[in-house]
């Protein structure tokens, strides 16, 4: 199949040429942004958790309401159209914390409202977060199984 080989060679040659021209993402800047923004989100979370502890909750009890407040904040700023602007700069810094998880559910829910509440919001809400949930649960199940077998 000389044609296939030629085609492959042409593709490789083009990819090589392109790699010399294609701009690289500004790695250091992106990492710095992700570190600072991600860190700040966690600091906010820590303040909220400290508040719940100060009103008499134990550390374990405070975790759930803290997550709820952070999810609310993520959703709120997505609704205001601020979270996507933040994400553009911060990248992983705003995707990884729980606020990013809220963003990944609220963003499609807002976007697909025009297709109605069943096939729009309902069906599309988890297009981004769905895989996270599925594989999160599968992993949790496997880890749980290992833990159970070791006992």
């Amino acid at each position: 199949m000389p044609n296939d080989i030629n085609k492959q060679q042409a593709q490789q040659a083009y990819a090589q040429k392109l790699s010399k021209v294609q701009p690289k993402p500004p790695l250091l800047k992106n990492i710095a942004w992700a570190f600072v923004v991600g860190g700040l989100i966690c600091v906010v979370g820590q303040f909220i958790m400290d508040y719940f502890i100060s009103i008499g909750m134990s550390k374990k009890e405070a975790a759930a309401p803290t997550s709820a407040v952070m999810v609310f904040l993520g959703a709120f700023f997505t609704g205001l159209g601020i979270y996507d602007e933040l994400g553009k700069k911060a990248g992983a810094g705003s995707i990884v914390p729980i606020t990013g998880f809220a963003n990944s559910i609220v963003a499609p829910a807002m976007e697909f409202k025009r297709e109605g509440y069943v096939f729009g919001v309902g069906a599309k809400m988890f297009v981004i977060a769905g895989p996270v949930l599925v594989y999160g649960m599968v992993t949790a199940f496997i880890v749980g199984l290992i833990y159970w077998m070791r006992q």
Binding site: Y14, L18, V21, Q22, P26, V106, A107, M110, R114
Partner: protein, 334 residues
């Protein structure tokens, strides 16, 4: 009379005349480098309508009507409309044309649609099948983004090679008689795919298609690149543009002095559009505004417009297919 020339080109016997054009842009396009070359600008990406898709339909309908008005015709004088957009089943175009109720042929050439519509329209006129046709194309940043990529409010980071889909539309009226620049010849492109799979790197994926069509155009017509005052590609962006210049150089032709990409002409550096503009409207708003005015004013006399389109779909890239690309060229001369 034989109008076919070479392998893929057409030389028109009676070159159709582009008697008028009209364009429309969104707010970001208005703030860009060509902000003064728009007939209309909408204030936000919804324009008081209930969806982005409706907004895109509105823009397409508006540019066709405006272009018809500009050359003092009635919409009923249009024998046929050739138009297309980026959305599934040409949603925006079909709803716009429902309102216009003219004979219509839908085109899908992705971002090459503007050049394609003028190419097919010119054939129809030169063939004697119509006296006046409209060619039009539209795209909408948010509508395209949600179909091809992610919801617009999702906080994702775009790589530097990514381009920004233009919100806007352009229309050109082609006529057998009248005043204006003429479409003298055209080259129909073939699909070229050099294996680029990254849907963010559309410019670099399309560059070989643009070079293929440009090269074939030169072979078929015998015109050197220097024959044209300017050669424009549709929406390759800065990276794609660099690749075109480099690939042409390898073929022994230097086009760096009279070649530009429409995608590099719309947004300024500060607008954070990364590698430039993309979408059907990229070449449509630039040609139907700035370039047409330059032609009429005599500042450009001979241009070659190469519409470039990447023909992938969300399904195709999820199935790990590479991006098939196409480019169509139309030569427009005063």
């Amino acid at each position: 009379m034989q109008k076919k020339q070479g392998k893929q080109s057409i030389v028109f016997a009676n070159p159709p005349i582009i008697t008028s054009t009209a364009n429309i842009g969104g707010p970001m396009e208005g703030e860009g480098l060509l902000g003064n070359y728009f007939d209309h600008l909408i204030e936000d990406n919804l324009n008081n309508l209930c969806s982005w898709e409706k907004c895109e339909s509105y823009m397409l309908e508006q540019v066709i009507k405006t272009a018809v008005n500009k050359e003092n015709s009635e919409i009923t004088d249009i024998d046929c409309v050739f138009a297309g957009d980026l959305l599934n089943q040409l949603m925006s175009t079909h709803f716009a044309l429902r309102e216009l109720s003219r004979p219509f042929v839908g085109l899908y050439g992705a971002c090459s649609t503007m050049a394609l519509s003028m190419l097919v329209g010119a054939m129809m006129i030169d063939g004697g099948f119509a006296n006046k046709v409209a060619g039009a194309a539209s795209s909408h940043h948010d509508a395209a983004e949600r179909q091809y990529r992610f919801p617009t409010e999702l906080g994702v980071q775009r790589p530097p090679v990514a381009q920004w889909t233009v919100t806007g539309a352009g229309a050109a009226i082609l006529s057998a008689t009248g005043q204006g620049p003429k479409i003298t010849c055209a080259t129909v492109g073939k699909i070229v795919d050099l294996g680029i799979k990254d849907p963010n790197a559309l410019g670099p994926a399309m560059a070989p298609a643009a070079v293929d069509t440009l090269w074939q155009h030169i072979q078929d017509t015998g015109r050197e690149p220097a024959y044209y005052d300017m050669i424009f590609t549709g929406d390759l962006g800065s990276v794609g543009k660099t690749m075109v210049i480099q690939l042409m150089q390898e073929k022994g032709l230097d086009i760096s002095s009279n070649y530009e990409d429409c995608g590099c002409m719309i947004y300024s550096e500060s607008q954070d559009a990364h590698a430039g503009a993309s979408g059907c409207a990229s070449s449509a708003v630039v040609f139907c505004g700035y370039l047409y005015q330059m032609l009429v004013a005599g500042k450009l006399n001979k241009i070659l417009l190469i519409g470039t389109g990447s023909l992938h779909s969300p399904t195709s890239y999820q199935q790990k297919e590479s991006i098939p690309c196409i480019a169509h060229a139309v030569a427009i001369e005063m």
